[in-house]
Amino acid sequence: MEILYRIRSRLVSNLDMPLLGITALLMLAGLATVFSATYDANNRALSQLVNMAVGLAVMWGVAQFPPQKLMRFAVPLYVVGVILLVLVFLVGIKVNGARRWLSLGFMRIQPSEILKIAMPLMLAWYFQKYEAALKLRHYCVAGLLLIVPFGLIAKQPDLGTAILVGAAGFYVIFFAGLPWKVIIGMITAGAGAAPFVWTVLHDYQRKRILTLIDPSTDPLGSGYHIIQSTIAIGSGGIFGKGWLEGTQTHLEFIPERHTDFIFAVFSEERGLIGCTILAILYLLLIARGLMITANASTLFARVLGGSITLSFFTYAFVNMGMVSGILPVVGVPLPFMSYGGTALVTLFLGLGILMSIQSHRMLVKK
């Protein structure tokens, strides 16, 4: 008994139960929805369960490391990530007009995924390094570290991932104390530069923004996704059509219904009540993450934890926003709901880091 107890305590001691509990509920909802979205043809629920198991293992593993040890990975991971991005730019595989993949002969990898973690890790490491004397130039250097991979990913083009990576990096800089004046200045400059950005955007990106403003201009083209997903959400009503009962889903009107548009499936079948519960679960997840971050002991842990937590927010908000038609369509999955191994592992990696920060806060303080 004693041994069993110790094993158990060893297993769970570094895990944060509130975080795990919320995530478990999200995963359950996700599994049920993936099942509903795919059971007609090629059921992905089981394979998503495997993805989740792998993700949980990664999370558990990462949670065992104290944050200081994670710092060691920051520079190598970032450097390798950027090199791979450059390689993608040079010799990447083109799929559907976008160069996002790198072939390793036996498998393909998507290096931009690495940057989702490498970016906040690198910037957190950088700020930790200069913690004692942060000056404007440090923020400038951080900005530069951010902009290079961001640019490479946006160039692929993969606006969704670029936004996620850019946001993760920005959150680090924000929590590291980027002066409000600079933030306000950037927002003003950004608004001023919007017309210029418009000219730089790819045609398909512009189209997505235009169809967001009025999806009916292109009902069978790029407006189709938004029109069909808003029909799914709206027709769900307060209580939803019931699990496996969504007509938009099962008659295949919703494109990419088990991945990026899984929220349309969920809200069609679960209605406003389901949507609200889901939103609350994400809010709780973020709240718990911010609590952990607020109590973290080092600058590194704080900015990293804050960035990871807000990344969860970005994922959830951008995804639900695009599916419900208030944000342009960018390829962002819904955290713990959308089908897909890579994204899930990245998310669990973030969770693991948060748990590591939480469980090692005392150690560091001493």
């Binding site: 709206g234 809200s267 209605g271 609200t276 926003g321």
Partner: protein
């Protein structure tokens, strides 16, 4: 201290406070963002819920029209003239296909597609709406269907459909009466809209173009059924929700006797012409012939370009229904009606005779009789039996154009008969009023008394369709009781089985004196017994009345007409009107043979064959022969 930048921190704690403020700020921003999202959900799922439910239902449910079976057409004895059969077609929806050429090339590797199929498809595309699916191949066999099914994924926008095709099992027989169906074009669409039938024609892509197929289109079509199906985003039907079955079109039973029709058509051989045979007591058409004919089956799945060109390029113009659209001078077949008019108006008595010198002088112009030296003393009987022109030159002069026009108008000449096929010609009933309407310049509008003279022998401006002549002959045979000529005897409602008879009532009863009618009939019987029709009706086992006629195609001013020396297309048109049995006429005909020479020579033998079959059941051997020794007339 260490921080000299914008926010110099005095202590570690104040740095933590600033950090926690930013955490709180972020939390606030997150909360706001989520409230915005929930606001959006409330808007979509409560405020706009009904709208999106409708949209989702519209997405999901599709009404698929089920076209009805087109009504069947049978002759008076139940012989099928038009029916339907089911066959598979390979169809392309051009709007769903990116590269049409490549698609057709690809299809031709699994299913035989000939150059003519491609040409027809191109023609169909030009004529149709782009969202329609159009056949590239019709009548696929089971192997073709299976091969395509295995390769279907390669050809989006291409599908195999089971369709009902119209079939005319007797081919070209009675094609001018039946007409044909073909794909709906813009004119037809306007027609459908005018009749408020758009909903009923959803799913229908063929429509009657000519003949009975056109005039009874809305009877034959039937009621389109609907199936409510649940469809997926690809438009594939997932399951059926409800079904309203179609109601087949009504069947037509014709007055036509197809055996008689066949005999009449064959009697023409390869000559151009028309024949209308009808039942005097009802107006029902027993045969409606216009030669040459065409095969209506050619049109059903879109006529091939070369077939269409061949039909149009032919100098014989097989697409023209000569019985209804051809207007010809009636020639001497006009004479019995002139004689009847004379009796009715009191301008002549039967026994009143004239001395015929072989010509008639009027206003310095000589009108010739074709018999040199004349017919001698001619009374009414002889004037018809021997077809004496001089008698009628004089009669016309005595009657005047107004009286002639009034009488001929009464028996339907120069007016559409109202037969149940569209596109009938009016013909020309000459009168001073007609001339005023017809010509623009005042000097042309005036009626000259000299023009009345040649009207008397059925020449001049006179021009009537064979159906008008047949109707007039039937009116005479039926003692003045006129019926509208019609082809459909009754319509059978497929739902109730109820039969609707067509036109059992006379349209007009002319109050002629029976004595006068008998005089004319007797003279017409004389024609076939001892006059111009006698050779054609030699040995007939029934009595018949007839009148030969010749319509001038080429004006030979005063010189002799030698048929053999003229080119065929310059020969006169031969005409013959007749009825039999004379005592109680069961059949009346008008026969026209274009460039057939004399009526007695080529038209009367055809009428004989028709009568022999209809009254005695005699089968002829081969087409009617031209009678080279027929007595000349006019």
């Amino acid at each position: 201290m260490r921080h000299r930048f914008a926010y110099p921190l005095s202590s570690q704690d104040s740095e933590l406070d600033r950090f926690r403020f930013r955490i709180a700020f972020a939390a606030g921003a997150v909360l706001l963002s989520f409230l915005l999202l929930i606001g959006r959900f409330i808007y979509l799922q409560i405020v706009q819920h009904d709208y999106y439910v409708t949209r989702a239902e519209d997405n999901r449910i599709s009404l698929v029209p089920i076209p009805p079976n087109r009504g069947v057409i049978v002759d008076r004895n139940g012989v099928i003239l038009a029916r339907n059969y089911s066959a598979f077609t390979l169809e392309i929806t051009p709007s769903k296909v990116d590269d049409l050429e490549a698609t057709i090339d690809g299809l031709s590797t699994i299913i035989e597609i000939q150059a003519k199929d491609r040409r027809r498809f191109k023609k169909l595309m030009e004529e149709s709406k782009s969202f329609e699916s159009l056949p590239i191949r019709t009548r696929l066999n089971d192997q073709d269907v299976a091969r395509f099914a295995a390769n279907r994924y390669r050809f989006p926008g291409v599908e195999v459909k089971a369709r009902l095709f119209r079939q005319y099992p007797l081919g070209s027989l009675a094609s001018h009466a039946l007409g044909y169906i073909n794909r709906i074009n813009k004119t037809d669409l306007a027609d459908i809209e005018r009749n408020d039938q758009e909903a009923n024609y959803r799913g229908t892509d063929h429509i009657g173009k000519t003949g009975l197929e056109k005039s009874y289109e809305f009877q034959l079509h039937g009621e389109t059924g609907y199936e409510e199906v649940e469809i997926d985003a690809g438009g594939r039907a997932v399951r059926s929700l409800s079904r309203t079955p179609p109601v087949s079109g009504n069947n037509l039973t014709l007055t036509l006797d197809v055996k008689l029709q066949e005999i009449a058509e064959k009697a023409f051989g390869d000559r151009r012409g028309a024949l209308v045979a009808l039942e005097p007591s009802t107006g029902g058409l027993l045969a409606l012939v216009s030669t040459p004919t065409f095969d209506p089956n050619l049109f059903v799945d879109g006529i091939r370009t070369e077939d269409w060109e061949q039909l149009n390029a032919s100098g014989d113009r097989p697409m023209i229904n000569r019985a209804l659209n051809g207007a010809y001078p009636p020639g001497s077949t006009f004479k019995p009606f002139m004689a009847l008019a004379a009796l009715e108006s009191g301008k002549r008595t039967p026994s009143q005779a004239i001395a015929d010198p072989g010509f008639f002088n009027f206003g310095g112009h000589t009108f010739r009789d074709d018999k040199k030296g004349g017919h001698g003393l001619v009374d009414m009987y002889k004037s018809i039996v021997q077809s004496c022109d001089t008698y009628y030159y004089m009669l016309a002069n005595d009657m005047g154009i107004d009286l002639i026009a009034r009488f001929m108008g009464q028996i339907g000449l120069g007016q559409r008969t109202g037969i149940d096929i569209e596109g009938e010609s009016e013909g020309v009933l000459p009168s001073p009023e007609w001339k005023k309407r017809r010509f623009k310049r005042p000097e042309q509008q005036k009626w000259f008394a000299g023009e009345t003279i040649s009207i008397g022998i059925g020449q001049g401006y006179n021009a009537y369709t064979p159906i008008q002549l047949a109707q007039a002959t039937a009116a005479l045979a039926n003692n003045g009781v006129m019926y509208r000529p019609h082809l459909v005897k009754y319509i059978t409602d497929t739902k109730s089985g109820e039969k609707t008879m067509i036109e059992p009532k006379p349209i007009r009863t002319l109050t002629w004196k029976q004595q006068n009618i008998d005089t004319i009939k007797k003279a017409m019987v004389g024609v076939n017994r001892e006059g111009t029709g006698a050779r054609a009706f030699a040995g007939a086992e029934y009595t018949s009345g007839g009148k030969t006629g010749t319509a001038q195609v080429f004006s030979l001013k005063g010189s002799d007409y030698k048929a053999g020396k003229l080119k065929q297309e310059l020969r006169d048109h031969a005409l013959f009107i007749a009825f039999a049995p004379a005592e109680d006429p069961k059949i009346a005909v008008a026969v026209l043979v274009e460039n057939g020479g004399f009526g007695a020579q080529s038209a009367a033998p055809i009428a004989r064959m028709v009568f022999d079959y209809y009254l005695l059941g005699k089968q002829p051997k081969g087409p009617a022969k031209e009678d080279e020794n027929a007595e000349e007339e006019e």
